[in-house]
Amino acid sequence: MRRLALLLAPLVLVAAGCGGGGATIDKQRLSSLVLTRQAVGNRYAPFYSGAQTQLDTQGTPRADPSRFGREGGWITRFHRVGPPKAPGPLVVESRADLFDGSGGAGKDLGLYREMYSSSPGDEHKALSVSVGDESVADTFVQPGQRVRFYRIAWRYENATAAVTAEGFDGKVTQRDAVRLAQSQQRRIERAAR
């Protein structure tokens, strides 16, 4: 399919000019900013944990790993063991990114807002959730088996974080996702001290 290379040059300049304030969370703490098995519960097994890779943002507005003074990112994914239609999410994704200032983190949250302004699923709805300094959240349903997704992203100081909770509709709730986000935020706050 046709590429759009030449059209994008002005936007490159705009993006390159972004900056931010001072960092309060050290990048050495990056791996401690995401959910742990202890936080999500023993029913969940992590199936991936490590530095974010290209695949984790591929095809999204957040694909540039050097955006806004980004210093790195971490991601952990959990899979619930047991009956698939038991209450609670089946898959949980927790990610965090650190920037050299809160301004960069704020701009990254802006990209989350763009991502969450629509969805590839049905019944898309913005949610009012308060986590960290500022946050954005949404929910949608994947057609077919009615798989429900909740996505919450937020900024705290020079970090952005996000939780995605996926499960069968009616089994996973907004409360599940908020609880996970708040748990992760507590970890981030501890890392910022």
């Binding site: 399919m1 046709r2 590429r3 759009l4 290379a5 030449l6 059209l7 994008l8 936007l11 490159v12 993006a15 023993n42 097994a45 992590p46 199936f47 991936y48 944990s49 490590g50 530095a51 890779t53 290209q54 695949l55 984790d56 591929q58 095809g59 999204t60 507005p61 957040r62 694909a63 540039d64 790993p65 050097s66 955006r67 994914r77 959990f78 899979h79 063991v81 698939p84 239609k85 089946l90 898959v91 994704e93 763009e114 991502m115 302004s117 629509s118 969805s119 590839p120 699923g121 049905d122 949608f140 994947q142 057609p143 077919g144 088996q145 798989v147 997704f149 996926e166 499960g167 069968f168």
Partner: protein
């Protein structure tokens, strides 16, 4: 296998998404905030195990091993899945007990000793991706294996990341293993060729020679005492410029190798060993390699050709070719070969260059030395296209590309059009995936082969592709299609559906949802001009099972051998079942077998015309009655979402005999790290290439061998068996398997495939056996 992306291109993708978002907002039409394009990252990309991929557990299922090799202490009893996996004639090729995956297979047979077979695969036994080799000298009954030596750099470093295996023997029986190698901590990468003169048991270690002002070239390859010829095996090399993995320099991907006689009038050439920046060459800021006298005794029986993709700002990937006459010791300056054409004009490249390409493969007629290279191209308005160029002078000059057909790939299920279950598992949002699963499915690597005969067949060349023209973004139904050219690759006849199972074409009636249908039928739910959309625009409908990763070879008697992954036998696995219940949305079409298809071409007639129409009788062998000459003329270069050739072909009159090769249907959800990767291609080989002193594979020369990725030893990772029980290791793994079968169309011998042909629940959900755990010191 798998590579990474350039920084400026990731920024490009980001900003493409921003632009699309802006554009869609301006138009008032809600669009997903994703790039308005195909994935612009290298096909391979790094699929890997973060934090090392430890070995804290010591056992995992090991079905399929043959022979009397030493075995570890293991008191664990076999589970039902392992017992069933051992029941057939398939032979496990990788001999390791690492509990790590192998995938993405390539295969060739030694023409001088046809009991000697060599395979290659991505091999993660060390904890990261490398290039595994597998050698047999008893027709594939037993195997020896290992990891090919890493290329050495003058700095003393080794490029220990590897993959994208491709194997070829030359006519004298020397084996060559082409691969990409790279660092995981910076952008250094390249293409190398290892050489084996003992049937694949020992391999040369490639050697990068970098001219650093030293007059002593010998010193460039590791210093005094290094016995290797400087530059040995180095096809293309790009040193990083800032020691950071940020895409600051071009990136190599998806190479392939073939061997064939130098055409008449073409003499052997040898070259300076020093690598030249391909991009600098293209920019005119570097000079090509100089020819040098060949080292005595090194001229090979054949010219070797390697093609590869190079991702850079000059093209999302350009296809380059390099050749060697001295058994891979020195290589010609890489040459851009994809050419230019009017059908690449939508790419907007200077001169209509076909610069956005991937998945190249060279093939040579062993009688004339004519070379063809097939590759995927995305310089299109919408769907991708498969192109072929040819050279009659040993790769010095190439024809403009011919267009085989459209690759109907933009309607594959993806994260951006509704498969959020896959992105939650770690799959990239623009990666194509099949219905019910999340393993990468991008139809990038297709297959091309030249006829092995001379005379009337000397201009005949064949292509096998797969795409989703018979599916939608909601329900994939990829099929394998065959094309042939009898005029040297200019005129193409097809498509002929190779798999002969049920395959229903999407129509307005069975595919279009009443609301939000957007584009219709095949493209239901798609946003116009993008790969994004919403699955709600399509009705839920099972159009048929997926066939994918085809490989095509031909023996010296004209028997075409197509082998491919196939999910047709899984007709009853339930919705909501399997390893990842939210991904299992359709009955059946889940477990994966390996299948073969054969058809014989015994006569040929040159068909050369610029118009479309029915196929002349003399060229109709292995052609479906519905196929046409020049299908792209029939549809135009930008087909509408309605009916296209390849849809609605009658299974009863399809010419390829289909047969099951693998014995069990395995679950790719257990193949690699939450089931997101199982390789990008599979391999096979067909009979003797030239007459040799040994008995051919089998006893009549019609025999063929297949080599595929198989997840029968993969299991779900249940807690609590390790610190990170869901990751590799221990239970998620794929292995590589081999079997032989007869491609004589009169035979029913299909490799002794067993199994009752349905979704065996032992493979549908296969927990990690309880005995598999870290037992502690002194326990076994």
């Amino acid at each position: 296998m798998n590579r990474r992306r350039l920084g400026f291109l990731t920024l490009f993708v980001t900003l493409a998404g921003l632009l699309v978002f802006w554009a869609s907002a301006a138009s008032g039409v809600p669009e997903p905030p994703f790039a308005d394009d195909e994935d612009t990252t290298p096909t391979s990309g790094v699929y890997d195990f973060s934090r090392g991929g430890g070995t804290n557990l010591t056992e995992c299922p090991q079905a399929g091993l043959q022979g009397n090799n030493p075995q570890p202490l293991d008191k664990r009893s076999l589970d039902a899945t392992e017992r069933k996996s051992n029941g057939g004639s398939d032979t496990r090729v990788n001999q390791d007990y690492s509990c790590m995956p192998q995938d993405e297979t390539a295969l060739d047979v030694n023409p001088q000793a046809t009991r000697n077979i060599i395979g290659g695969a991505n091999d993660y036994r060390l904890g990261w991706g490398t290039s595994g080799f597998y050698a047999s000298t008893d027709n594939g009954k037993t195997w020896y294996d290992g990891i090919t030596p890493f290329p050495s750099l003058p700095s003393g470093d080794n490029l220990d990341g590897g993959g994208d295996p491709a194997i070829v023997f030359d006519r004298s029986g020397v084996a060559y293993y082409a691969q990409i190698n790279f660092n995981r901590t910076d952008d250094t990468s390249g293409v190398w060729v290892n050489r084996s003169t003992n049937g694949g048991f020992t391999w040369t270690r490639p050697c990068v020679a970098i001219q650093q002002g030293a007059a002593d070239q010998q010193g460039a390859c590791g210093g005094a005492g290094d016995v290797r010829q400087p530059g040995d095996g180095t096809v293309s090399f790009q040193q990083d410029n800032d020691t950071v993995l940020n895409g600051s320099v071009p990136s190599h991907d998806k190479e392939w190798i073939t061997a064939g006689p130098r055409p008449a009038g073409v003499d052997p050439q040898c070259f300076s060993p020093f690598a030249v920046s391909t991009i600098a060459l293209a920019a005119g800021t570097a000079t090509p390699k100089t020819t040098v006298p060949c080292t005595p005794g090194t001229i090979g029986s054949d010219r070797l050709y390697v093609t590869f993709s190079l991702f850079s700002g000059a093209g999302s990937a350009q296809i380059f070719l390099s050749y060697s006459d001295d058994q891979g010791r020195t290589w010609s300056t890489p040459k851009f070969i994809a050419g230019a054409a009017a059908f690449c004009a939508p790419g907007g490249r200077p001169g209509n260059a076909c610069d956005d390409s991937q998945g190249s493969q060279p093939t040579v007629n062993p009688n004339t030395g004519q070379l063809w290279v097939g590759f995927l191209n995305g310089d299109t308005e919408d769907e991708d296209q498969y192109l072929v160029v040819t050279s009659v002078d040993g790769g010095q000059t190439f024809s403009p590309p011919s267009r085989v057909d459209t690759i109907y790939d933009v309607n594959e299920p993806r994260g951006v059009n509704g498969r959020s279950d896959c992105t939650a598992r770690g799959q990239g949002s623009t990666r194509a995936v099949p219905t019910n699963s999340c393993f990468r499915f991008d139809p990038i690597m297709h297959s091309i082969v030249a006829d092995k005969r001379g005379g009337a067949f000397a201009n005949d060349v064949y292509v096998a592709i797969y795409d989703n023209r018979n599916g939608t973004i909601r329900d994939s139904n990829n099929d394998v299609f065959f094309y042939k050219s009898t005029d040297g690759g200019t005129t193409w006849i097809g498509p002929t559906r190779v798999n002969n199972d049920r395959s229903d074409a999407p129509t307005a009636a069975n595919a279009n949802a009443a609301t939000n249908a957007r584009q219709g039928a095949r493209d239901c739910g798609r946003n116009n001009g993008t790969i994004a959309g919403t699955q709600s625009g399509c009705l839920e409908n099972n159009f048929g099972a997926d066939q994918f990763f085809p490989w095509l070879t031909i023996d010296t008697k004209g028997n075409l051998n197509v082998s491919f992954m196939d999910r047709r036998l899984d007709t009853d696995s339930p919705v909501g079942a399997g390893a990842w219940p939210t991904s299992k949305t359709e009955v059946g079409n889940y477990l994966v077998w390996y299948w073969g298809a054969s058809c014989r071409i015994s006569s040929t007639t040159e068909v050369s015309q610029t118009t479309t129409g029915s196929v002349p009788a003399g060229a109709s062998q292995c052609v479906a009655p519905e196929a046409v000459v020049n299908p792209t003329v029939a549809t135009g270069f930008n087909p509408a979402p309605g009916a296209v050739p390849g849809q609605g072909q009658n299974p009863a009159t399809l010419p390829f005999r289909n047969f099951q090769v693998s014995d069990v249907g395995t679950n790719y959800d257990y193949s690699f790290r939450a089931g997101i990767f199982a390789g990008d291609y599979s391999g096979n080989t067909s009979g003797p290439i030239v007459a040799g002193p040994d008995t051919p594979v089998g006893d009549n020369g019609f025999k063929a061998g297949a080599f595929w990725t198989d997840a029968r030893n993969g299991r779900g990772s249940g807690a609590p068996t390790s610190i990170e029980p869901g990751r590799n290791p221990i239970c998620e793994q794929s292995d590589v398997f081999f079997d032989t079968y007869n491609i004589d169309s009169q035979s029913n011998n299909n490799g002794g495939a067993k199994g009752n042909g349905h979704a065996d629940e032992d493979f549908l959900v296969a927990p990690c056996p309880p005995g598999i755990q870290d037992k502690g010191a002194g326990k076994h």
